[in-house]
């Protein structure tokens, strides 16, 4: 995919995130917009996963630890052909499989998530299985910066380094906000890089909205042989919609019709 095509994909995904959140009347808007460029690059450039190979034991795995930003995952999976996009019209509706967190009832979803601090241990176990079976697949997990105080993350960080899981890549969507306020005020976890380095990880920073930089970053995996990799992606919560950017209330705010129209106007036309 060319850089231009990739950029158009991001725009398309942002439009769809808003479209289906507005339709459902619910969703995690700000966080979905902060992580969507990462998901775009993962699914359109980095991951060896598709509807065709999803049952293959050799596929790459993506486990979304920050499950609440499911809208970002669903619009990408629909675009990749895991299910018809029209399914998303049922998002959060009575009896729909498309609930407000990832579930394996939806084709393309690896693990049921939603409770925070669960993605990294599962990803570490899956990466460990790859090592045991001498398989080449890689395991990715996307975490929010707000979920880092969960102790299970640090337990798994130890395990990943102990077992030299260089086929594991954790990505932190560092949008610096969480539901109650700035992450630095709620429970400061900085410096995240130094903490993970001291746990035995190889760490890289990247602009989480720079599609080229994200591609080159993931192309360099593993950052160091014998070490798990951490990508700290610096992002903006609500990215792409001026009145949402860095505004706390858009954590799970749903645009009204007027706001939705304004958002679409700001995003402009997508040429796929």
């Amino acid at each position: 995919m060319t850089d231009k095509e990739l950029a158009q994909r991001s725009n398309h995904y942002r439009q769809n995130i808003l479209k289906y959140i507005v339709k459902a009347g619910a969703g995690h808007t700000g966080g979905s917009l902060s992580c969507i460029d990462i998901l775009n690059v993962l699914y359109n450039h980095t991951l060896n996963v598709s509807p065709e190979n999803f049952r293959s034991p050799d596929r790459d795995r993506y486990i979304q630890s920050k499950g609440h930003c499911v809208e970002a995952l669903f619009v990408v999976l629909a675009d990749k052909g895991f299910f018809p996009e029209s399914d998303l019209n049922t998002l959060c509706r009575y009896r729909s499989h498309y609930i407000g967190h990832p579930t394996r009832k939806v084709n393309g979803v690896e693990q049921n998530t939603g409770a925070l601090g669960h993605g990294l241990p599962i990803a570490a176990g899956t990466a460990l299985a790859a090592k045991m079976d001498k398989k080449a697949y890689r395991v990715f997990t996307l975490m929010g910066d707000g979920e880092l105080p969960e102790g299970s993350n640090w337990e798994a960080a130890l395990t990943a380094a102990h077992y030299k899981l260089d086929n594991l890549c954790a990505i932190i969507d560092k949008n610096t906000l969480q539901i109650s306020g700035p992450t630095a005020d709620v429970c400061n976890t900085d410096p995240i890089d130094e903490k993970f380095k001291s746990f035995g990880w190889a760490v890289t920073h990247v602009d989480g909205h720079d599609l080229q930089a994200l591609q080159t970053t993931f192309d360099r995996l593993p950052f160091e042989k014998g070490k798990p990799s951490l990508v700290i992606a610096h992002t903006v919560k609500g990215k792409g919609i001026s009145y949402m950017e860095n505004v706390l209330s858009w954590h799970h705010g749903v645009p009204n019709q007027e706001q939705y129209a304004l958002a679409l106007q700001e995003l402009g036309e997508t040429v796929l």
């Binding site: 034991p57 394996r104 690896e110 693990q111 049921n112 998530t113 939603g114 409770a115 601090g117 669960h118 990294l120 241990p121 599962i122 990803a123 570490a124 176990g125 899956t126 990466a127 460990l128 299985a129 790859a130 045991m132 079976d133 395991v139 102790g151 299970s152 337990e155 798994a156 130890l158 395990t159 102990h162 077992y163």
Partner: protein, 322 residues
């Protein structure tokens, strides 16, 4: 009162040792068998397994939430994963991982709660697991079982290894004589085993408490002419309701016995089913009352709360008005 003690048959081992031996045997021919431990290989009798199959044991260290999360990841990638940790920590510390990563995501982890119930005796409440049946019964997509003797343990491990859905098994540490040598009395999850039959009373027991129930049945028969049914209800969930209906129809009273809080375990599971089924005969739940247990060994704690041949005999006579 004198009580008849069922003689310990030679060769009776702790169920935990049988668990470990069976797992070693399975691992010999199946490289996908993986054991995950939280600094618990000693208490899980898994040191020989670790020596023989160093590539098939994953040490996590003391971190039970991570133990279960990692086990879920291993199982999702096709490993026949046994997550082994003391029942007290496994089913409390890692309850959310059991609920979400194992049961909800349907990763076929075999959760093994070792030194369950009051096996740790005088180590006290932090080390007792008297809540695990209650907590895990309320979680969807999880089989909950407590094999009683060495035979049930070996069968449970073999069948669990082949299962494609999650299961929780709990084991204790004391020597468990065989409940029966009848080769036709097989083991299947969800199907209680009838060890003896009698019309006057039924003991429905689970795990290490089936043995004292058998002792009570022997005393009742020898000294009071009371013929009791004894059932090893190894699977707490799904409960064998077919057998429950049969017992309800054929016996005059029911006593449930478990190494668990009287709240939320086997007894309340049976009571709930039987009440809704229309059962109206005498019924009693024997287990650990809602208190921090008296200090003592497992045997002393069992005796204190009447989970013994003598205690269950007294309860039975009382329930039958004799």
């Amino acid at each position: 009162m004198a009580s008849v003690v069922v003689e310990s048959k030679p060769g009776a081992k702790p169920n935990l040792e049988v668990f470990s031996a069976t797992l070693q045997e399975l691992a010999t021919t199946d490289r996908d068998i993986v054991v995950v431990t939280s600094d618990s290989r000693g208490s899980g009798k898994l040191v020989p397994f670790g020596k023989k199959f160093p590539e098939q044991i994953v040490e996590i260290g003391i971190a039970e939430q991570n133990l279960v999360g990692v086990a879920a990841g291993l199982a999702s990638a096709g490993k026949k994963t046994f997550a082994v940790s003391p029942a007290c920590f496994l089913t409390a510390r890692a309850l959310e991982q059991i609920k979400n990563d194992v049961a909800y995501s349907d990763n076929p982890v075999k959760l093994i709660g070792i030194s369950a119930g009051v096996s740790y005796g005088a180590l006290g409440s932090t080390h007792h697991s008297l809540h695990d049946f209650a907590a895990l019964r309320a979680i969807n997509n999880l089989i909950v079982a407590a094999p009683a003797d060495n035979f049930e343990t070996e069968e449970a491990i073999r069948q669990a290894a082949a299962m494609t859905h999650p299961i929780y098994l709990r084991f204790g540490k004391k020597n468990m004589p065989l409940l029966t040598t009848d080769p036709n009395n097989g083991f299947r999850f969800g199907k209680g085993r009838v060890i003896s039959r009698g019309p006057d009373l039924a003991f429905i027991a689970t795990g290490e408490t089936v043995q004292p129930a058998l002792e009570a049945a022997a005393t009742l028969r020898a000294e009071h002419g009371i013929e009791a049914t004894v059932i090893s209800m190894h699977t707490i969930k799904p409960l064998d309701t077919t057998l429950l209906r049969e017992v309800a129809a054929e016996t005059a009273a029911i006593i449930t016995v478990e190494e668990h809080s009287v709240y939320g375990g086997l007894g309340e599971a049976c009571a709930s089913y039987l009440l809704q089924y229309g059962y109206g005969k005498p019924f009693r739940i024997v287990g650990i009352p809602d208190e921090y247990t008296v200090t003592g060994s497992q045997n002393e704690i069992f005796n204190h709360y009447g989970i013994s041949g003598e205690g269950l005999t007294t309860t039975a006579l009382d329930l039958l008005g004799k």
